[in-house]
């Protein structure tokens, strides 16, 4: 019995890391993750699959880390005006509470480069 319990525990622990980031409730973002832009957009918009409460939006870039102010633009959509992306890699980390009570999180990568010469 104890061996069985140990085996169950080991199996459970092995599956944990893969599960930790399993919930992805974001349908899309504008600009989309992976986009390469030449100037910072006027707004960053996140659209979720189902009604979700966005609770935290942080931008990590070469200029450091800061919180992006945001507001709801509908039951599924949140908008952060003037995200002021820095040149290079911009990682936007979001966290939210889904309708069924899960904490969901994810990140959006936007690359800002100099305009073509």
């Amino acid at each position: 019995m104890t061996r069985f319990v140990k085996a169950m525990l080991a199996a459970l622990l092995l599956t944990l890391p893969a599960m930790a980031m399993a919930h992805t409730a974001l349908r899309s973002s504008s600009p989309a993750s992976g986009s390469v832009l030449t100037r910072s957009p006027s707004a960053l918009t996140l659209t979720f699959i189902e009604p979700t409460r966005l609770t935290s939006l942080n931008l990590v870039s070469s200029a450091g880390e800061r919180a992006l102010p945001f507001s709801a633009a509908g039951p599924l959509t949140y908008t952060a005006p003037q995200p002021r992306f820095a040149p290079g890699r911009n990682e936007v980390r979001w966290r939210a509470l889904s309708r069924d009570g899960h904490v969901v999180e994810g990140r959006i990568i936007i690359v800002l480069r100099a305009p073509a010469r």
């Binding site: 599956t15 599960m19 974001l26 986009s35 609770t55 890699r89 990568i109």
Partner: protein, 415 residues
């Protein structure tokens, strides 16, 4: 780590809720409504109620941290002005009520408040009223069973043999109906949550199956108790100790089921893989004339300006084709390269194109053919998805998304 703590607190909360509610419900049904609670079960209800109230508070604190940990309007609103906040408040009030005044007729109301919390937030509640009601019925039946077992265990120690036999037979008669309701509500809830689709390839369904397996063990044990041990209580002295052990084992299985449920409701979602935008990155792109399998790139140490890209290309066309160019918005140039060993010296050279025979395949891998990104606007970081376009002489353009793995390694495709 916070997720693990949240799942553990949730499991503890389930056990406390089912214990406090279950003993209250079972006492009312087994001893007549408003029947007095013996000192042992009364202490248990008190402790379970207090534990439930504490776990509700601790759970709220963990949610606060996991949602971002800032005391701002967005987080506090999501935490308190939401179904989640309502459910935690119901657990807190119901738990405190049972901790302070267990065993009174009014404790029934507290038990109903705690049961209502299960229908307020979660996978079932989010699907609508029918699944919300059916999960409350399911939890109610499970709680009665769990609480009834505690009452039996306590009575086995304290009561006279005749009283105990009478209690066991009452429990036995009622349990048949409760178990039927429990199973019917479980099947209905699962069907509603899964929208009548059952796919064993998905983790949530396998979790449900594990729960069903533990429940089958529990039923087996209950059957042994009812049909083998209980009839022998009057005639054999050895039946009572065995029945006590079997009840303890049933309670242990119950704890296992609650642990499985806490894991299921914290880590898994019934709608995994049906949606989600990130599911596509790094997945095989098998349609069309050229199929691309596991396109990946290693993360770059120290933000270097160049990087490699790897994948397996399969030519589904009845004629040979050639990869002639590649481009990505992430880099100024993407070129085709070949690494080879010349003695002990690794050499790398540009190649014009890469031929793939009809129906053949070619693998771009470290130490061999690869894509070379130069003039990257941003370094590859593990977890990134990098869009690229491959240009073939006959098949034309094929869009692929590279999944970025750890430095020097392939990404983990297990999720």
């Amino acid at each position: 780590m916070l997720d693990l703590a949240a799942a553990a607190v949730k499991g503890l909360g389930y056990a406390a809720a089912l214990g406090a509610v279950g003993i209250t419900l079972a006492q009312n049904s087994l001893a007549g409504f408003g029947g007095a609670l013996a000192p042992g079960p009364r202490r248990l209800v008190r402790a379970a109620g207090a534990l439930l109230a504490i776990s509700a508070c601790y759970s709220a604190f963990l949610y606060f941290l996991r949602l971002g940990g800032e005391a701002d309007a967005a987080i506090l609103g999501a935490l308190f002005l939401s179904p989640l906040g309502a459910a935690l408040a119901l657990q807190l009030v119901g738990g405190l009520w049972l901790a302070l005044a267990p065993g009174r007729p009014a404790a029934f109301v507290a038990a109903l408040l705690i049961l209502a919390a299960f229908g307020t937030v979660g996978h079932s509640a989010a699907r609508g009223l029918p699944s919300s009601l059916s999960v409350v019925v399911h939890v109610c039946a499970a709680a009665w069973w769990f609480g009834g077992l505690w009452l039996l265990l306590s009575a086995a120690r304290r009561s006279t043999p005749d009283e105990f036999v009478a209690l066991v037979s009452r429990f036995s008669r009622q349990a048949i109906w409760v178990v039927l309701i429990l199973l019917a509500a479980a099947l209905l809830t699962a069907a509603l949550i899964l929208e009548f689709r059952f796919d064993l390839g998905l983790a949530y369904e396998r979790g449900l199956l594990a729960k069903a397996g533990l429940t089958a063990l529990l039923l087996l044990l209950a059957g042994v108790n009812k049909f083998v041990l209980t009839p022998r209580l009057a005639s054999s002295d050895r039946a009572l100790p065995w029945l006590r052990r079997a009840i303890l084992a049933e309670l242990g299985l119950f704890v296992g089921i609650m642990g499985a449920t806490a894991f299921l409701t914290t880590y898994l979602s019934p709608h995994e893989d049906h949606d989600g935008v990130h599911a596509e990155a790094g997945a095989p792109q098998v349609d069309g004339p050229i199929a691309v399998y596991s396109p990946w790139a290693p993360a770059m140490p120290g933000g270097a300006g160049t990087g490699g890209g790897y994948m397996t290309l399969v030519n589904n066309q009845p004629f040979a084709d050639r990869l002639v160019a590649a481009r990505s918005e992430w880099a100024e140039h993407v070129t085709l390269h070949r690494s080879s060993m010349d003695g002990n010296i690794s050499r790398m050279r540009d190649i014009e194109s890469l031929a793939i025979p009809a129906g053949g395949r070619i693998t771009l891998a470290p130490g061999s053919y690869h894509l070379m990104f130069t003039g990257l606007y941003a370094p590859f970081v593990e977890g990134d998805v990098v869009p690229i376009t491959l240009v073939f002489e006959r098949a034309g353009e094929v869009n692929v998304t590279l999944a970025v793995g750890p430095i020097g390694g392939m990404p983990d495709h297990s999720h």
